[in-house]
């Protein structure tokens, strides 16, 4: 291709061009408006960066990279390029850097991108812990420090935990329900390509005048309406991450509702599918609220609205109500998919059906409903209407009940199982124990009198890391190791995986355990410096953080080297029953040669003659009426000689 052809074909050249054009367009609008009104200066760089760099340039990049090509042709009445499936599959590493509509490619794009931001956010955490290792100022000044914890949290939440679950689900869900792809593959690609824009924007805030946004990931007004330009990189970045999240969730909902294979009733869906179904409900309902809260901030900052200016009749607490109406459900957005992963891993590695399958699904639904009624527990000391506190304390404590159902059901699944302690299972067990601790500190925080003392202290920092690291992060690792053979077609190194688990488990507890005590003793969160009496445990925590950082090196080495040269993975290394394991590793481009027929539940381990689904040409062998809860007479095939016979690759 000539350079000119490249410049007009979808791809990185055109994306660069689109970014430049977008920025110029935004700059032009600002300059034009300012000169028409006769405002001085005409070149107002804050406005130019907001309109040009933060809004128009990312849209130009999305158009340039090719997310909208098909729709533009269709909308303009031009002949669309017939879908020849050239957008499916990846044949070299370059294909992962193009707009691709294959859910498996998009899943891997998500996972690799989000892990990049995980590493970036992790390095920021280590720099913070370096600064906090001793009292006083050693490495960074307070402004930089406030930027570090703000960008750290924003990247970890919006660019890592939420989207990495979307990535894992993107890869696994269509396979699990027996579908060839997601319902809207082009929307799926658009969702993915919005993410790097959001992440790069948040990272670039360090280059803004006045430094990175430094108001925490919560960005409470009116502090966030007064701080320098860097804040807008967060305000707008969240819009792109949020739009990505909403579009993906809609896609999951439609996919799960409409594209299940014949026989895959809701009560035969694996629990990961249930988990992503309920998560997507949360995302679709809640995410518009954070988008709204950040738009209010943006408008207060840029065009002089007074939403949060009490002197002009604004209401400061409104920000917190709207923000937490999303951000508390967001905690479950970051946890329910992990619950799904743990159910898959535990059932497979304990060789037993999930104990209380229906209650596991009902408890997810209960969490979705209750999750919307607890947001104000973040505001017990905020000065909100005081009667609201007690109902929110009660609902917050009640949400421990469905969560407890899940913990007890997993434990009961372990009981009398045949436990295979491979790396995913170790992370699952680590999750159950550490998440219990996070839940316990959650109950303590829910008790208002204790919360009045502990709110905004390191106790909260400890709690959220036990929930998001000991909880979500452990499930992410469990999921990555569990589906690694399926995604890459290679086995990871089991010894390095175990080393990674134990280093993570120890480093995690050393880092975050002492924070409980620090908070109760009186150390507030989000401080660049602290009283000398907290020095010893802060040093311990910092040492733990660096150990944790080393554990991640083991993971990255294992991940990369095994992908390059690990032993070939069989189709079903875990002898699992769900559909994604019944095809080759990695799966064929369109997943299944023929849509499978589901005939039973997904976890029928130990049930003689049970089968979850019948693939490829065996359909006529399915007994008539074989849709009882997984006790169907099975076709006489023998997959892996595991004693129960009845499924095949």
């Amino acid at each position: 291709m000539t350079f000119a052809q490249r410049l007009f074909a979808p791809g990185w050249y055109r994306a660069a061009l689109g970014t430049a054009l977008g920025f110029s367009l935004g700059m032009g609008i600002v300059v034009l408006v300012r000169s028409l009104y006769g405002w001085d200066p005409i070149l107002d760089w804050d406005a130019i960066i907001t309109v040009g760099a933060l809004i128009a340039a990312p849209l130009g990049y999305l158009i340039g990279i090719g997310c909208f090509d098909y729709w533009f042709r269709w909308a303009s009445g031009a002949p669309t390029i017939p879908e020849d499936h050239s957008g499916h599959g990846a044949y070299s590493w370059r294909d992962y850097f193009r707009v691709n509509t294959d859910h498996k490619v998009i899943g891997i794009q998500y996972i690799c991108t989000t892990f990049f931001f995980f590493v970036a956010g992790g390095l920021m955490a280590m720099l913070m812990r370096a600064e906090l290792a001793q009292p006083g100022t050693q490495f960074v000044d307070p402004n930089t420090f406030n930027g570090l914890f703000s960008v750290h949290a924003s990247l970890m939440i919006f660019l890592f935990i939420i989207p990495v679950f979307a990535g894992i689900a993107n890869y696994v869900i269509p396979l699990m329900i027996g579908a060839p792809d997601m319902a809207f593959p082009r929307l799926n690609a658009l969702s993915y390509w919005m993410l790097p824009a959001a992440g790069v924007m948040m990272l670039c805030s360090y280059f803004a005048e006045g430094g990175a946004f430094a108001t925490g990931w919560t960005a409470y007004a009116p502090l966030s309406t007064e701080t320098p330009l860097g804040q807008q990189f967060f305000t707008v970045g969240v819009q792109f991450a949020g739009a990505s999240s909403i579009a993906t969730a809609l896609n999951f909902l439609v996919t799960i509702i409409t594209m299940r294979a014949p026989g895959m009733t809701f009560w035969r869906m694996p629990l990961l599918v249930w988990a992503n179904f309920t998560t997507s409900l949360l995302v679709v309902i809640a995410t518009p609220f954070i988008a709204g809260s950040q738009f209010f901030v943006l408008l207060d900052r840029t065009i002089g609205t007074k939403f949060f200016d009490p002197a002009a009749g604004g209401d400061v607490l409104m920000y917190q109500h709207v923000f937490w109406f999303y951000s508390h459900p967001a905690v479950y957005i970051m946890m329910l998919p992990g619950f799904g992963i743990i159910s898959e891993v535990i059932s497979t590695h304990a060789r037993k059906p999930i104990f209380g399958y229906r209650m596991m699904a009902f408890s997810l639904v209960a969490i979705v409903i209750l999750g919307f009624s607890v947001w104000a527990h973040h505001m017990f000391v905020s000065g909100m209407w005081s009667w609201l506190r007690v109902p929110m304390m009660i609902t917050t404590m009640l949400i421990a009940v469905p969560t407890g159902i899940k913990i007890f059901s997993w434990l009961a699944t372990l009981w009398r199982g045949v436990l295979e302690l491979s790396t995913p299972m170790l992370f699952a067990l680590g999750f159950i124990t550490m998440f219990t601790l996070g839940g316990i500190s959650g109950i303590m925080l829910a008790a208002i009198p204790v919360d009045i003392h502990t709110s905004d202290t390191y106790f909260v920092v400890a709690h959220i890391h036990y929930v998001l690291f000991g909880g979500s992060m452990f499930t992410i690792f469990a999921g990555i190791y569990y589906w690694y053979p399926k995604m890459t077609g290679r086995m990871y190194d089991e010894r390095l995986g175990k080393l990674h688990f134990w280093m993570t488990f120890i480093g995690f507890n050393v880092t975050f355990g002492p924070m409980h005590w620090l908070g109760l003793e009186g150390m507030p969160r989000r401080v660049a410096d602290y009283a000398d009496k907290f020095a010893a445990w802060n040093l311990v925590s910092s040492i733990g953080a660096f150990f944790l950082g080393m554990a991640m090196l083991v993971f990255v080495y294992n991940f990369v080297s095994s992908w390059a040269g690990g032993p070939r993975a069989p189709g079903n290394p875990w002898r699992a029953r769900t559909l994604e394991w019944q095809v080759s590793s990695p799966p064929p481009i369109f997943n299944f040669d023929e849509i499978p027929q589901v005939v039973g539940g997904p976890y029928e381990y130990g049930v003689p003659g049970s089968v979850h689904a019948v693939l490829n040409g065996d359909r006529e062998k399915v007994p008539v009426g074989a849709d009882g809860e997984g006790h169907a007479a099975a076709p006489a095939t023998n997959g892996h000689g595991n004693g129960n016979g009845a499924h095949r690759e």
Binding site: L223, P228, L317, V418, Y605
Partner: protein, 364 residues
């Protein structure tokens, strides 16, 4: 409650003697219960021995500590239950090399599931009621309350005793006298917190928030800002002095005398006490070091210009103007509108003079 829970949980998990891996043991569940109970007792003892809190200094503090202890006592057995079953399963039910079999196909147990919905439900309901009861206790109106107005601003607190018409930059409280704090903010959200009192409340612009408490131990405790309020957030610390009633009266009358001359004059006037204001202390208490470098004060922040290197601008007039109107002269490479514009109002004349003098003396 938790021990009972454990008993039934384990009993309901199927008759253990069917499983050859636990058939050799006479009472595997009983043994787990015994281990679990011992571990719970030891765990509770250890967690109660840990000194979690700073010394309590208010009447509510000991109630809150008790609630926390009750939560610990309920939590430890839950954690022990989870750990015991997890560890027991790992040890007892781990696959032997080459064992490709499956576990028994147990799909659930309705009784057991009802049980572990009900018991936690009752537990958290009881805890919520207890929490509610304590909350009402803490916040109950007391007789003979003294009102203290607390005002947060970047990055300092000021205090006012409206009945005595006294304003101060330090908080002095008589021991055993109920206090009602009315908390305000002049700019962004702050949070008024004294860890030894165990109580905090946000200071919200446009709202008045309240805390009631009775200090019951004499001493000096830190007033900490607990809500991120900007660059100087970690420096926003002052002291509360809890003193005998007589000493408090003496302090009040000293404050009145000091303010008397001014006749309730402008700004943050009145505070400062008998001693002349010290520029170095002001530099620290107004959080200047949150943004500026000043070698003499050990401040190293780089948001604003280095105040130790003003060069030929180091004149009293220039410094005075820059504090009162930060946008009047912006050093190259820095931006307007970052520094708060109200320092001119917040510092009284003596303080401003002291601060200007201190900065002049601190030039390198």
């Amino acid at each position: 409650m938790d021990d009972r829970e454990r008993v039934q949980t384990d009993e309901a998990k199927g008759p253990p003697e069917e499983d050859p891996r636990i058939a050799g043991q006479k009472h595997p569940v009983a043994r787990m219960i015994a281990i679990g109970m011992v571990a719970s007792v030891v765990g509770i003892a250890i967690t109660l021995l840990i000194d979690w809190f700073p010394e309590p200094a208010s009447k509510s503090a000991s109630d809150i500590d008790t609630l926390y202890d009750v939560l610990l006592i309920c939590s430890v057995p839950v954690f022990v239950l989870v750990m015991t079953i997890a560890i027991y399963s790992v040890v007892r039910f781990r696959a032997k090399p080459g064992d490709m079999g499956d576990g028994p196909p147990i799909h659930g147990n309705a009784k057991l599931e009802v049980f572990w919905v009900t018991v936690p439900f009752i537990m958290v309901t009881v805890l919520a009621i207890y929490g509610w009861y304590e909350l009402d206790n803490i916040e109950a109106k007391q007789k003979n309350e003294m009102v203290v107005n607390v005002t947060g601003q970047q990055f300092t607190w000021t205090f006012e005793y409206p009945e005595e018409k006294v304003q101060a930059k330090e908080l002095v409280l008589p021991v055993n006298r109920p206090i009602e704090f009315k908390i305000h903010s002049k700019d962004v959200i702050h949070s008024f917190w004294v860890p030894q009192f165990r109580l905090k409340s946000d200071a919200v612009p446009g709202l008045t928030t309240r805390i009631r408490l009775t200090p019951d131990r004499e001493g000096d405790y830190e007033v900490v800002c607990a809500e991120l309020c900007g660059l100087g957030h970690s420096t926003m610390r002052q002291f509360v002095h809890v003193v005998p009633a007589s000493e408090f009266q003496t302090w009040l009358s000293d404050q009145k005398k000091a303010a008397g001359g001014g006749g309730g004059g402008g700004g943050g006037g009145g505070g400062g006490g008998a001693a002349a204001p010290n520029g170095g202390d002001l530099f620290a208490s107004f959080g200047c070091g949150g943004c500026h470098t000043l070698a003499a004060a050990g401040a190293t922040a780089k948001v604003g210009p280095d105040l130790g290197k003003l060069g030929d601008k180091a004149t009293a007039d220039f410094i005075r103007e820059s504090i009162a109107d930060p946008n009047a002269d912006i050093t190259k490479g820095y931006k307007p509108d970052i520094m708060p514009k109200d320092f001119g109002d917040r510092l009284d004349k003596e303080e401003l003079d002291a601060l200007v003098k201190y900065l002049l003396e601190s030039q390198e």
